[in-house]
């Protein structure tokens, strides 16, 4: 594995290797000295064309726990707004000797371009591109599901997962559908028809417009943020109507089987797709998702930049 661009690029063995590695690395975070020497002398650049403090910090902590040198490069605007082009930014990073570039970009495919256009030699990690993918989010979600609903090992065969919300514009949904499928889970996407991509019927998942019907049959429900500006573009009539039909409130949470958990990639809009009572309930695992995000990103950087040495195994 040289780059991580799409969750769909991972086969079952690779996906499990990342999850297993993350499980091992998670123990580092529980120690008083939260650091491994593995990536000492390697440089990881966080190249963020979009503001995302949460994801950026998660990658930064992950890289630092592996002793990598971390550079945060907050690029202002893409070349769409006539700033410095992606290419020139990439050439700059290459000249400075970046071993890995973690890129967040508003344009779908930008990480793919960075990895394949011949501008840089290092590994590219997709930290979210446009409405395309966000593979490390899917990996941390899978890690969280595996921890709660399996014994923390193996795949997710037979698990029923609902993904609810703005599937059309969600990179989290795309990556999750692909990865969960690879891990053997069965996914149902739930949204009003306007917020489902054209051709979704051919995706490897079930499609539903009715949240109440889906909830009793799932082991986990993943709520996605719905941006209110979608309302202006007529994707749905009003926030209230959306919330009534697709929001997760206490009544709907009661439809879930007792063991089922609630996930959300954040940031949440309380009162829109998720009520405050649900967000604060013991079933909601958002804080764990964040913690697992660090372990997953450690695992990804670890595997892309070196893999595990015998010394690392000893230390773990």
């Amino acid at each position: 594995m040289r780059h991580l661009l799409s969750a769909g690029d991972l086969d079952l063995d690779e996906a499990c290797l990342i999850l297993d590695t993350a499980a091992q690395l998670a123990s580092v975070s529980d120690r008083s000295v939260k650091k491994l020497p593995t990536l000492r002398g390697r440089t990881v650049v966080n190249l963020f064309f979009e503001d995302s403090t949460r994801t950026r910090i998660s990658f930064e902590i992950a890289a630092k726990r592996l002793s990598a040198d971390v550079i945060n490069f907050a690029a202002r605007g893409s070349s769409v707004s006539k700033g410095e082009s992606l290419k020139d930014t990439a050439l700059t990073l290459e000249a400075m000797g970046a071993d890995a570039v973690v890129i967040r970009h508003g344009s779908s495919g930008a990480p793919h371009r960075l990895a394949t256009a011949g501008w840089i030699q290092g590994s590219v990690v997709n930290a979210g591109d446009g409405t395309h993918e966000h593979p490390t989010q899917a990996l941390l979600d899978a890690f969280t599901l595996r921890h709660h609903l399996r014994d923390g090992t193996g795949d997710l065969a037979g698990l029923q997962v609902a993904i609810v919300g703005d599937i059309l514009h969600s990179r989290v949904a795309r990556s999750n559908v692909l990865l969960l499928r690879t891990l053997g889970a069965e996914v149902t996407v739930v949204a009003p028809p306007t917020l489902l991509p054209f051709g979704v019927a051919d995706w490897p998942c079930v499609v539903s417009y009715n949240l109440d019907e889906v909830l009793p049959n799932v082991d986990a429900v993943m709520m996605l943020r719905v941006q209110t500006e979608r309302m202006q573009a007529a994707y749905f009539p009003s926030e209230n109507e959306y919330s009534r039909r697709y929001g997760l409130d206490v009544r709907r949470m009661g439809l879930l089987p007792p063991h089922a958990i609630v996930l959300h990639p954040g940031p949440m809009i309380r009162g829109m797709e998720i009520s405050a009572d649900v967000a604060d309930s013991p079933r909601a695992v958002m804080a764990e998702q964040v913690a697992n995000g660090v372990s997953i990103r450690m695992a990804v950087l670890y595997l892309l930049l070196g893999g595990m040495t015998d010394d690392d195994r000893k230390e773990l």
Partner: protein, 429 residues
């Protein structure tokens, strides 16, 4: 006394070898092979076709001379076997006045490699709000007959109706870029399974077809001439076929890339495949080829759209729409239409020369290889193969989707009004 040139042993439309004798800029005689008198050009093994006429090019001048000029665009056209091109109006300033179209016309004549027929804008500044002075452009030196806001759709139905009506006064034609704007906000590629997977905003077929359907009905209602630019979907073909069966005065063109390339190429996120209308599906390609074969689509037109490297060497969304086409159009036509047996050479000449010249009123072009016609002749080697290498193209830009491909059919010699513009695959001068 003008000297005669004898194109010896050439096969018009791949038929029996003859000598074509050119004198005084016209085809003086077509005689038995070996019997013509004059300066001999050995053309044995070559096919003679009438010089190609391209209804749809972007020569970028005035305004974007970094991408292309009328001179470099004319060179690319000549090397591609063309003797006439129509230059779209979306320049800067826009070709929406007699002054701009006359400038384009004069620069084309100055270069002299092909006749450059300027297309006039339908609306002022391509803004879709007010009709440009179509009459002034029609009566200018450039004698504009084709009008288009290409790059943008004349989306306002009332403006479109008025434009169709107005140009009847001088037998003009409105060439529509059929793209419903509200259905294609930020659109990046064909809407389908793949656009959903790639997270690129979709450009649905219906955004083209709804405009084509509206426009053929408007053309019928006001009994005027409509030309549909770069038809890209099977649904548009059905509508145009229906309209023609009703006697509606509609013509249509298809680009070489829409006859060959599918949306699957977009999965690379390489912006060289970003074009408007977008690359579609294999089913669309099959329908477009069949339509060009049966004449539902009248013309092959390149939509030659040069862009400087920096506008393609970037992420997908930031990249410009468009592909080079002039120097590869003939070979793509051979690959898609001749090799498949869908068109014979005479029919290919009809779609690349005769009909486009008629649609755009390209004076002096598209009359075929008949005695008395202006000697606009393209000699091609049907058996040759060549490798497309954009850095060696005459165009100032390099955004060809065919880079590195081995293509069939080579343009060898081209004559415009009897004067050699291309000799042995290179520019004559």
């Amino acid at each position: 006394m003008t000297l005669s040139t004898v194109i010896r042993g050439v096969r018009p439309y791949n038929e029996e070898p003859v000598d074509v004798v050119v004198k005084g800029g016209v085809i003086a005689e077509v005689v038995k092979a070996g019997s013509g008198a004059g300066r001999v050009v050995d053309a044995s093994g070559l096919i003679a076709l009438p010089g190609f006429v391209d209804l749809h090019t972007h020569l970028r001048e005035p305004g974007r001379e970094d991408a292309e000029t009328i001179e470099t665009g004319s060179q690319a056209a000549a090397l591609g076997g063309f003797t006439a091109v129509f230059a779209m109006a979306n320049t800067s300033p826009v070709a929406d006045t007699a002054g701009v179209v006359e400038q384009v016309w004069h620069l084309g004549q100055q270069t002299g490699l092909v006749d450059v027929f300027p297309v006039g804008a339908v609306t002022v500044g391509l803004e879709g709000a007010h009709l440009a002075e179509l009459g002034a452009m029609a009566t200018s030196v450039a004698q504009v007959r084709m009008f288009s806001d290409d790059g943008k759709c004349v989306h306002d139905a009332a403006i479109m109706r008025r434009a169709l009506e107005y140009v009847k006064a001088f037998d003009g034609v409105i060439a529509q870029h059929a793209q419903e704007p509200r259905l294609t906000v930020d659109a990046q590629m064909n809407e389908g399974l793949l656009s959903g997977q790639l997270g690129l905003a979709g450009w649905p077929s219906v955004a083209e077809e709804s405009i084509v359907a509206r426009d053929v009905l408007l053309a019928e209602h006001v009994d005027s001439r409509l030309h549909v630019c770069h038809v890209s979907t099977a649904g548009s073909v059905d509508i145009i076929r229906w309209a023609k069966s009703k006697g509606i005065k509609v013509t249509a063109e298809v680009t070489p890339h829409h006859l060959l390339l599918t949306e699957d190429l977009v999965a690379s996120y390489d912006p060289v495949y970003k074009v408007n209308p977008p690359l579609r599906t294999g089913a669309d390609i099959a329908a477009l080829r069949a339509a060009l074969a049966d004449g539902t689509i009248d013309a092959l037109a390149t939509d030659h759209a040069p862009h400087p490297h920096e506008d393609k060497d970037c992420e997908w969304a930031a990249a410009a729409f468009g592909m080079l086409g002039l120097q590869t159009a003939f070979s793509i036509a051979v690959l898609t239409m001749i090799e498949s047996g869908l068109l014979d050479w005479r029919a290919l000449a009809d779609r690349m020369s005769v009909r486009p010249a008629r649609i755009g009123h390209a004076i002096g072009h598209g009359q075929g290889l008949v005695v008395g016609a202006p000697a606009n002749i393209c000699l091609v080697d049907p058996d040759a193969f060549w490798v497309a290498e954009p850095s060696s193209f005459a165009s100032k830009s390099r955004n060809s989707p065919y880079a590195g491909m081995t293509l069939p059919g080579r343009v060898v010699h081209v004559y415009k009004a009897g004067k050699a513009t291309v000799v042995d695959g290179g520019l004559a001068c």
